[in-house]
Amino acid sequence: MSSSRIDAYEPLRGAYHDRLAAARAAHAQGAPVIGYVGNTVPVELIVAAGGVPVRIAPEGGSTAIADRYVETVSDLDLRWIFDAYCRGNLDLLRLLVVPRSTETQHKLYLSLREAQRIGLASPADGRPPLWLYDLPHTQRPTSAAYGLERTRALWEALAQACGTACDEARLREAIALMNRQRAAVARLQALRDGGSVSGHEALVAIGALRFLPPAEGVQRLEEWLAAGGPTPRSDGPRLLLRGVPAEHDRLHALVESLGAVIVAEDGDWGSREGAACADMPEGLLATVAHHHASTVPCVRRHPADDSWFEQQLRRADIDAVLFHLPPPDDVHGWSYPSGRARAEAAGKPSLRLRTDTRDAEATRPAIADFLATLRR
């Protein structure tokens, strides 16, 4: 990478790997920091309320407290967040918003409420208050109406937490800012689609947006794109990633170390963050609610929408599909047989990954062997 590229990439890489750094800095300056879990909480509302949003998605942490109260079959990130909350590591937050957009998130909310109830993590001791964002993802009018009201209630709660009021003009500005961010992600994705560039760097840069104040995040991303964006790579197998969203970058790094590249991701992190938030005639709040209930990837979307996946399978430049199903997956695996069949029908070989891809050494052999078959 050229020095200008490196200089522009470094703040993004730093934010991705020190995920609370920017939030801590904002907190130190007295800004109201609002934490959220997952990808379905409308960051626009946090920004409009005057808050500094930060996605709570640890790359690691202690589970000593969690091990006593949260089953080891639970998602590791749930246990890390629970532990961090109980320890006071999230006390910088004015509010922690937990959506009911996955079973894990719902159980996290219930676990944290119970931790409060039994005195394990008391708001009196500085633990941030919790807010359940009960946004349904069933695609029917009654669920949309319910979700709209829950979105309104969230906005009011955020405004109260930040000491402001619900202001439509500020919401309009916030939506414009987040769409500018999404447009930058879309331009990054176009580079990935059009040539051989580092998918690892792209994933990290996109992910960093969740850990930086949005205005700073989009500026950093645009500066990096202006400096050339992700490093060009020599041609190698181009892979589509589907399944459990990768909360970390180790899989992408491993794939690139083996001479291939992940060019697109079907999930929370990566490619699909560039989908624009389209205006709804019902107004700004409906626009935001609809985007997070229907457009962003979500396992609870019903009926499921595989149109993005189908579109990627039709790409001639994609060589194969990685189905990412690490333990303790009990959701995405239900879609694997049909996904594999569709990949085969599209002429794309596929690999089902069932190792913990945080462990590169455990994962390497399967990917290496698979890539070897692609090169024959």
Binding site: E71, T138, H302, D330
Partner: protein, 421 residues
Amino acid sequence: MASDKQLACTASVGERQKAWFGELRRAVFEERRPYAIVNADTPHDLFHVMDVPVVTNQWWAAVIAAKRLSHEYLDGLNAMGFHEDLCRYCSIGMASSLIDLGERTPWGGLPQASLFCARLTCDCMQRVFQQWADHMGAPFVALEAPGSAVLPANWWELSRHRWAELCEPERLDLAVTELRALIVELERLSGRTWSDDALRAFLGRVNQQEECFEEARTLIAQAPRCPVRIGEQITNVMATQWHRGSEWALNHARRFRDEVRERVQAGVAACPGERKRLMWIGAGMWHDTGFYSAFEESHGAVFTWSMYLPFGPDWYIRYGLDDPLRALASRVVTMNEVLHNPPYAPAWMVREAQANRIDGAVVLMPTGCRPAASGTLFITAALERAGIPTHLIESDMVDGRRWNREAAHAGVARFIEERLG
């Protein structure tokens, strides 16, 4: 269940279940009678009022497990590409439709269903039910499982008379709206017209049925020695639960209560050598229900409590039926969470343990069903804080492929010997 059935009413249940299912198959094949496959936490009441028979997914899963066929269906799912960590309890029914075991198919197998219904509790539910419904060419009605920030720990104090306070009113509003949409489907399927009065009368009969179980649970809790093993409690209760509100169910509930009363009055104990009282926490372990009685002879330890009997009275009874659909919605909208999750489950388990003079709790950690596993450690922590020793067993409800009975038995034996004195 334990091979030596102690209650006369228990023996009649199994045959009745089989006969009912045989009649269902006949009606579907010969008369094209519509029926629905539904999850346990859906409002069966609406189906019963509209005379649309239901096969409960979890009941069918238990039938498969009891017939020792789980491994064949689950191995078959694995061979189809569904990996081994996927939920078994809620999917083995689907497996029985996808995989043909020929003459070994339980009771001839599930006939073609006309409707599927499930609450979207865990994230896999729509995936399992949609695939199952697509296989049978039937519609799938999904009910929302909205979250609640109103979490009353002592929920049993509200459920009968103050059920509107169990959750936010907007949650109930959504549930009622969805139940009305389901009713439209049932009208289409059955050709009948819905009546709120019919539901009101039906829920009144459900109340009567559960009041019988209320009497039975109190008799069992207060008896000097446990009069009825949990295996027989479960058999009698769940058979009526799947047919609740029917004349048969109400009569059977009365019969069960009366027989329990007789046994208590006669001083009859399920285990005459009772020395320790255990509670079984979690769903049934349907692939090895004999496990519940495995410690009577050796240790005088009898399982006196499982959730199945007391949950009916505490959760299903609804008084104040001016708006019967709203009352039913209040039962549906939080049911799954109350059974497994904090704060509901830990608080209730402690209350039940104390009321039943429990010496120790054996807690199922269902590793094959993460939604059911979630909350287990909060339950054990609450019991231990209340002075009730606990012991965890890892097993799936229906998948016995990794079940090591000897090791599990040894673990419980040690627990009884070392922690219960």
